[in-house]
């Protein structure tokens, strides 16, 4: 189960890695390095990462990258991915055009 993250934890310095330029979130074109840097900038939850970088907020809505992002953030925080609360699920679950959202049949 997820736990509240201790913000005073020392996660060490950001150490560049050779594959930091590798794309992780394809829809929003966010790299592994950007995600790792975001953790060192203080974004320690998936919700914060999403708001900071927009990972998982593109066309596929995190279908591919949410698990990958979780793994990278967890490794950076030296915790298990299972301890990270996943992103909030909210409607619309699939990308939906505004004109469709506005065309409700009651």
């Amino acid at each position: 189960m997820s736990r509240i993250i201790d913000r005073s934890m020392d996660i060490g310095e950001f150490v560049p890695q050779p594959d930091d330029d590798m794309l992780i979130c394809r829809c929003e074109e966010i790299t592994k390095g950007e995600i790792r840097r975001a953790v060192h900038d203080g974004m320690w939850t998936i919700t914060e990462i999403r708001r900071y970088l927009r990972t998982g907020m593109g066309l596929c809505q995190g279908q591919t990258c949410s698990r990958l992002v979780k793994g990278i953030v967890a490794r950076e925080l030296h915790i298990s991915p299972a301890e990270l609360e996943p992103a909030t699920s909210r409607s619309p679950m699939r990308p939906t055009e505004m004109k469709v959202m506005g065309n409700e049949e009651a």
């Binding site: 189960m1 590798m22 394809r26 301890e83 996943p86 699920s89 679950m93 699939r94 065309n103 049949e105």
Partner: protein, 525 residues
């Protein structure tokens, strides 16, 4: 707002099964599915399923899908296709996108059967066109009739990786290697063996370190990994490929349940974020159920049973069944589910190294590491016998819940004993009529009919053959070993394609008799 007694999200094996159970008891049911066709993944499954008669064993997946659709139509299930559920709330309000509008529905109960999505692993070049999921490869081949590529490397040796590798071969692709970071093959040995005897090499404890190419995949480099899964320098091997296929597991698509406020957990044994459910699929929100892969990754046969359980539960929840009737139905279904979850690959054994079969026989380590049982290991298994004349040789060496072979033999020569997971053996008073039913019935393509000594220095081997073009009688070529190596010259002496074999052709080849227990496949060139 339209009201239904049961709203089901997902028209795959579990969703349809749930719908059938509810609709046949008179409940007003609707199933939403975002796809254009119902059936979920079943229609991509062209291989024969494992299990017992009750679990549709030896029936090809897409046929099970067809049967399920017929049953649903008979029960009066309403299936709304092209309908994407975009919202689910705790009061069981369901928002659905249909065409260009959003419609609101209210369910007295809701069953979420949304299935799972494929996982990916990353390496430099993983976003290049040509890197695809195994599910995508199946969709291209088996739904649209498109070959995904010419030369393919498969990452992942679970059943999905093994089954899709075989299907790629059937589609005419060259599978250059099957790679897995784990030290042992994850899927059924029989699935691995049929890929291995086509000559596909297995690289266990290896991972992809780079995909090459500028605007599409032109090659791939793999490296051996140490016990921490870190690539070892100097172990790189490069293959020229145009496609990299990934079969590295599935994640439940459970977001709707989380949105509805169901209690969730991160459970690696179930594949990721899953709802906390009781034994029959009810979540922490009364009246919302989960069935199939969304509540834990398994396979289609168990998904169908879980769906039926949820369908029975909602029927009782809404007063269409008494509690006693529900208990009786669930007990039966629980028994079925339990029998599927037996054997070496049972959920409780996931990740464990099992060294001995239930019979106390040493498991073939070669099978776990290279994909085939070696010549010196094969003799210790009960289905491998030597008799005069034609007789079955059953190269089934792991305890899996499957037994169509024992029903297939009209002479009752084959038995799996008291337990569905026991290894099949050939009875002593066996009078094989060479009918071939056992060969065609084995979903693992692990049964051969062998005449070890025809009296003229040759032997004949009848093997299951599911490739096109089908060789003709008189064709000459080579007998291949279990690892796909050319062993000897071989001549096709008989090709049988009966309706009862359900597209598993039986090819009989003549080889020098010293290869009777070694040659297990045929190639013309």
């Amino acid at each position: 707002m339209e009201r239904y007694e049961v709203i089901i999200v997902g028209a795959g094996p579990s969703g349809l099964s749930a719908a059938i159970e509810a609709a046949k008891r008179g409940l007003k049911v609707i199933v939403f599915d975002e796809n254009d066709k119902p059936g979920g993944q079943l229609f991509k499954q062209i291989h024969k399923f494992f299990g017992s008669k009750e679990h549709h064993a030896k029936i090809r997946g897409f046929r099970i899908g067809e049967q399920l659709l017929e049953e649903a139509a008979e029960a009066g299930v309403e299936v709304q296709l092209g309908a994407t559920v975009i919202g689910l709330y705790s009061d069981k309000e369901v928002n659905v996108r249909i065409g260009d509008s959003i419609r609101h529905y209210k369910g007295d109960t809701v069953i979420v059967a949304t299935g799972a999505a494929e996982n990916m692993v990353t390496f430099p070049g993983w976003t290049l066109p040509g890197v695809i999921g195994a599910g995508a490869a199946q969709t291209m081949m088996n739904i649209h009739g498109i070959r995904p590529g010419k030369k393919v490397l498969m990452l992942g040796s679970g059943n999905v990786g093994l089954v899709v590798s075989f299907q790629l071969l059937q589609a005419g692709c060259e599978v250059v290697a099957l790679v897995d970071a784990a030290p042992r093959i994850g899927g059924y040995g029989v699935h691995a063996a049929k890929v291995a005897r086509c000559g596909v090499p297995f690289y266990l404890s290896h991972t992809i370190t780079k995909a090459h190419g500028e605007d599409h995949v032109t090659g791939v480099t793999i490296s051996e990994v140490d016990s921490h899964f870190t690539p070892i320098e100097g172990t790189e091997k490069t293959f020229e490929v145009d496609t990299i296929c990934m079969a590295v597991g599935l994640s439940p698509m459970s977001q709707l349940l989380k949105m509805a406020g169901c209690e969730m957990e991160d459970n690696p044994k179930r594949g990721g974020q899953v709802p906390i459910i009781d034994d029959f699929g009810e979540t922490s929100v009364s009246g919302i159920f989960a069935a199939g892969d969304v509540s834990g990754i398994e396979e289609a046969s168990s998904a169908m049973i879980e769906g039926r359980m949820a369908g029975v539960c909602v029927s009782e929840y809404l007063g269409y069944l008494s509690e006693e009737e529900k208990e009786a139905e669930l007990k039966k279904l629980e028994g079925d589910l339990d029998s599927l979850r037996q054997g070496m690959f049972a959920p409780k054994n996931r990740g464990k190294l099992i060294e001995k079969t239930d019979e106390g026989i040493d498991v073939s380590m070669n099978l776990l590491q290279k994909g085939y049982v070696s010549d010196d290991e094969i003799e210790r298994f009960p289905g491998v016998v030597h008799r005069k004349g034609v007789h079955p040789v059953i190269e089934c060496t792991q305890n899996i819940p499957c037994n169509p072979c024992q029903d297939a033999c009209p002479k009752k020569c084959i038995s799996t004993g008291d337990n569905i997971t026991f290894l099949p053996f050939i009875k002593d008073d066996c009078e094989c009529s060479n009918c071939g039913m056992c060969v065609a019935s084995c979903s693992g393509q692990a049964i051969f009919l062998v005449d070890e000594d025809c009296g003229d220095g040759t032997a004949t081997i009848t093997l299951p053959y599911e490739f096109l073009p089908l060789p003709q009688v008189g064709d000459t070529g080579y007998g291949l070993s279990r690892s796909g190596e050319k062993l000897c010259e071989a001549e096709v002496v008989l090709v049988r394609s009966l309706k009862a074999f359900d597209h598993t052709n039986l090819l009989t080849m003549r080889v020098p008799k010293e290869y009777a227990m070694k040659a297990r496949f045929f190639t013309k060139d």
